[in-house]
C-alpha cells in the first residue's frame, strides 16, 4: 500500500510540474533552471539519513558524509546563484542611474 501511495504522489507531482512551468517567459529560463536545480538538492534528506544512521558500518558513514557534502554544495550554491541572478533583473526606473535624461 505504501508503494502505491508513493506512485500516486509521483504521478500527481509530475502533472503539477508540467502545469507550473508551461508558461514561463524566456527571460526567466536561467533562474528557473538553477532554482529547480537547487531543489534537486533535496536528495540531502536521504544523505542525512545515511550519514546519521550509525549502524556500525564505516561504508555507510563515509558514503553518507560524502553525499551530505555534495548535496549541500548543490543546495547552497544553487539557491545563492539563483538569488544573485534574480537580484540583477530590474525595471528601468528601479535602476540606480539617475543621469538618464527623460526622453
Amino acid at each position: 500500500m505504501e508503494l502505491i501511495l508513493l506512485f500516486f504522489i509521483f504521478t500527481l507531482a509530475g502533472f503539477l510540474g508540467f502545469e507550473l512551468i508551461a508558461k514561463v517567459p524566456s527571460q526567466l529560463h536561467t533562474p528557473l533552471m538553477s532554482g529547480s536545480n537547487a531543489i534537486s538538492g533535496i536528495t540531502i534528506v536521504g544523505a542525512l539519513i545515511a550519514a546519521g544512521a550509525d549502524d556500525g558500518s564505516w561504508i555507510t558513514t563515509v558514503l553518507g558524509t560524502a553525499a551530505v557534502t555534495l548535496a549541500m554544495i548543490n543546495v547552497v550554491g544553487g539557491y545563492l546563484v539563483t538569488d544573485r541572478m534574480l537580484r540583477m533583473f530590474r525595471k528601468k526606473d528601479a535602476g540606480a542611474k539617475p543621469e538618464n535624461p527623460a526622453p
Binding site: 536561467t30 533535496i42 536521504g46 542525512l48 555507510t60 549541500m72 543546495v75
Partner: protein, 474 residues
C-alpha cells in the same frame, strides 16, 4: 509515532513551499521571493530530517554540512556571471552524484543487514535506477562543465561506432541491472552493482561527447531534469515522500524546458543527442542552391558604423554567444544608452537558444543593468523588424541565418530565426570570417544591406561608443 507525524507534516510544508516557489519563479515580479520560499522549504526539510528517529549520530553530518556550505558559498559568490552556464552544470552534477551515493549507501546497509526492505525487488530496482540516472547526470554534467569552461573543445567529438558502443554499454547495463534485482547471491549482487555503476558513469560521458557547444542549452536542461529524477528515484529507495515530490517536480519542469529548447531549434531531442550536429562543415555550403543568397562580405569600420547608428531612429540589438565570449555586455548597454540619448528607440531581440544555456543572454544583459522591458522575445520582434533602421548583430550567427527560412537544403532549415535580414541595414560584429556553430556560411552576411564589423566585439563597440562620446563633447 508522534515524531514521525511531525517529520512528515514538515515534509508536506516543504513540498508546498517548493511548489509555490517554482510557481513564483515563473514571473518577473515574484521570482526572487519564490526562490527564497523554495529555499525556506529546503531549510525545513533539512532541519526536520535531523529530528528523524533514524538519525542518531551527528558528528559526520555536521562535517558534511559545514564542508558543503563552505564550498557552495565559495562557488556561488566567486563565480562570474559569464561563467554561469558551467557553474549551473557543475552544481547539477554534484546533485546527481549525491543521489547516486544515497542509493549506494542504502545498498550497503541492506547488505550489512542493518536494513531489511519490505519489498526487496522493488528496492533493488529503485537503487539500480538511482545509480543509473545519478551516474549519467554526474559525468554528463562534468563533461558539459568542461566544454563550457573550455577545458575541453566545444566541438562535438565523434568516434567510429560510437552509437554501437553506447548501445552495447546500455545493453550490458540492463543485463547487470536484471541480475542485480533477480539474484539472491550477495557477491553476485555486489559485482553487478559495481558493473552498472561504472557503466553509468562512462555512459554519461560518452552521451554528452557528440553534442556540440551550440546545443548546450538542450543538454543543460536535460541534465537538470535528470538530476531531479535521480533524487526522485532515491526517494523510492528510502521511501520518502518529499524526495519523490521535489525530485519529480524538477524532473518534469526540466523536461519542459528541454522541449522548449528543442522547439526553438526545430529539432527533436534525439537529433540533438545523437546526430553529432556541427561536427563536420555542412555539405550544402558547397554550392548555391535554389533560394540561396550569393554575394560578398562588405567590411565596415567603427567610424562608419557610428555614422549609420547616429542617423538611426529604430535600433535592434541581437546578441549571441560572441557577446558572452568577449564579455561585451557592459559596453553594449553603454551603446544602447548613447543611442537612446541620441533619440533612437533601442530594443534587444533575444533568441531562445542564443548562448550556452536557456536564457543566457538575459542574464548577461541584466548583469549590465539593461532593464528587462527592453528585452524582446523572438516572436515579438519579428513583426517589427521591417521598421528597424539598423539591426546590430553581436556575435550571433545561426539564429539570424535566413537560410533557416529559405534554403530547404540547409541543415538548419525550419529553425525559427530572428529576421535580422528584414531590417534596413544590418551591422554584424564578428571576430573573423569563420562559420557559426552549425558550420554554415551565414547568408545574412552576404546580403547587400549587411556590413561586417570585424574584430573583438568589445573593442569594436568601444570604438563606436568613443565616436558618440566625442560627438557629445564637441
Amino acid at each position: 509515532m508522534s515524531r514521525e507525524i511531525l517529520v512528515n507534516s514538515a515534509y508536506i510544508a516543504a513540498s508546498i513551499l517548493f511548489i509555490l516557489g517554482l510557481k513564483m519563479l515563473g514571473r518577473q515580479t515574484t521570482a526572487r521571493r519564490g526562490n527564497l520560499l523554495s529555499g525556506l522549504g529546503m531549510l525545513i526539510a533539512i532541519v526536520v530530517t535531523l529530528l528523524d528517529q533514524h538519525v542518531v549520530s551527528f558528528t559526520w553530518i555536521v562535517v558534511g554540512l559545514a564542508a558543503g556550505t563552505a564550498i557552495g558559498l565559495a562557488c556561488a559568490l566567486l563565480v562570474r556571471m559569464t561563467s554561469m552556464p558551467e557553474m549551473v552544470a557543475l552544481l547539477n552534477g554534484f546533485g546527481g552524484l549525491a543521489s547516486l551515493i544515497v542509493g549506494a549507501a542504502e545498498f550497503f546497509r541492506i547488505r550489512g543487514g542493518t536494513v531489511t526492505p519490505e519489498h526487496a525487488a522493488f528496492t533493488s530496482t529503485s537503487i539500480y535506477l538511482t545509480v543509473l540516472i545519478g551516474g549519467i547526470t554526474f559525468t554528463g554534467s562534468v563533461y558539459a562543465f568542461c566544454k563550457l569552461a573550455e577545458w575541453l573543445s566545444g566541438r562535438p567529438v565523434l568516434f567510429a561506432g560510437q552509437h554501437i558502443v553506447n548501445g552495447l554499454m546500455l545493453a550490458a547495463m540492463l543485463g547487470a541491472g536484471g541480475l542485480f534485482v533477480a539474484t539472491g547471491d550477495g557477491r553476485l549482487a555486489l559485482a553487478s552493482f559495481g558493473v552498472f555503476t561504472a557503466l553509468a558513469l562512462v555512459l554519461g560521458w560518452t552521451l554528452v561527447m557528440p553534442i556540440g557547444g551550440g546545443d548546450m542549452p538542450v543538454v543543460i536542461s536535460m541534465l537538470n531534469s535528470l538530476s531531479g529524477l535521480a533524487a526522485c528515484a532515491a526517494g523510492f529507495v528510502i521511501r520518502n515522500n518529499v524526495l519523490v515530490v521535489a525530485g519529480c517536480l524538477v524532473g518534469t519542469s526540466g523536461l519542459i524546458l528541454t522541449a522548449i529548447m528543442c522547439r526553438a531549434m526545430n529539432r527533436s531531442l534525439a537529433n540533438v543527442l545523437f546526430s553529432g550536429f556541427g561536427a563536420a562543415p555542412a555539405a550544402s555550403a558547397a554550392g548555391p542552391e535554389a533560394g540561396a543568397i550569393t554575394g560578398e562580405l562588405k567590411p565596415i569600420s567603427p567610424e562608419d558604423s557610428f555614422a549609420v547608428l547616429e542617423a538611426a531612429r529604430q535600433v535592434v540589438i541581437i546578441p549571441g554567444y560572441g557577446m558572452a565570449v568577449s564579455q561585451a555586455q557592459h559596453v553594449v548597454r553603454e551603446l544602447a544608452e548613447m543611442l537612446e540619448r541620441n533619440g533612437a528607440e533601442v530594443r534587444f531581440a533575444i533568441h531562445p537558444v542564443a548562448g550556452r544555456m536557456p536564457g543566457h543572454m538575459n542574464v548577461l544583459l541584466a548583469e549590465a543593468s539593461v532593464p528587462y522591458e527592453q528585452l524582446v522575445e523572438m516572436d515579438a520582434i519579428n513583426p517589427l523588424m521591417a521598421s528597424m533602421d539598423v539591426a546590430v548583430v553581436i556575435g550571433a550567427n545561426d539564429v539570424v541565418n535566413p537560410a533557416a527560412a529559405r534554403d530547404k537544403s540547409s541543415p538548419i532549415y525550419g529553425m525559427p530565426i530572428i529576421n535580422a535580414h528584414e531590417a534596413r541595414t544590418v551591422i554584424a560584429l564578428k571576430r573573423g570570417k569563420g562559420t557559426g556553430f552549425s558550420g554554415l556560411e551565414n547568408q545574412l552576411f552576404l546580403l547587400p544591406n549587411t556590413r561586417m564589423l570585424y574584430g573583438d566585439a568589445k573593442a569594436s563597440l568601444q570604438g563606436v561608443v568613443a565616436e558618440f562620446k566625442s560627438l557629445a563633447g564637441a
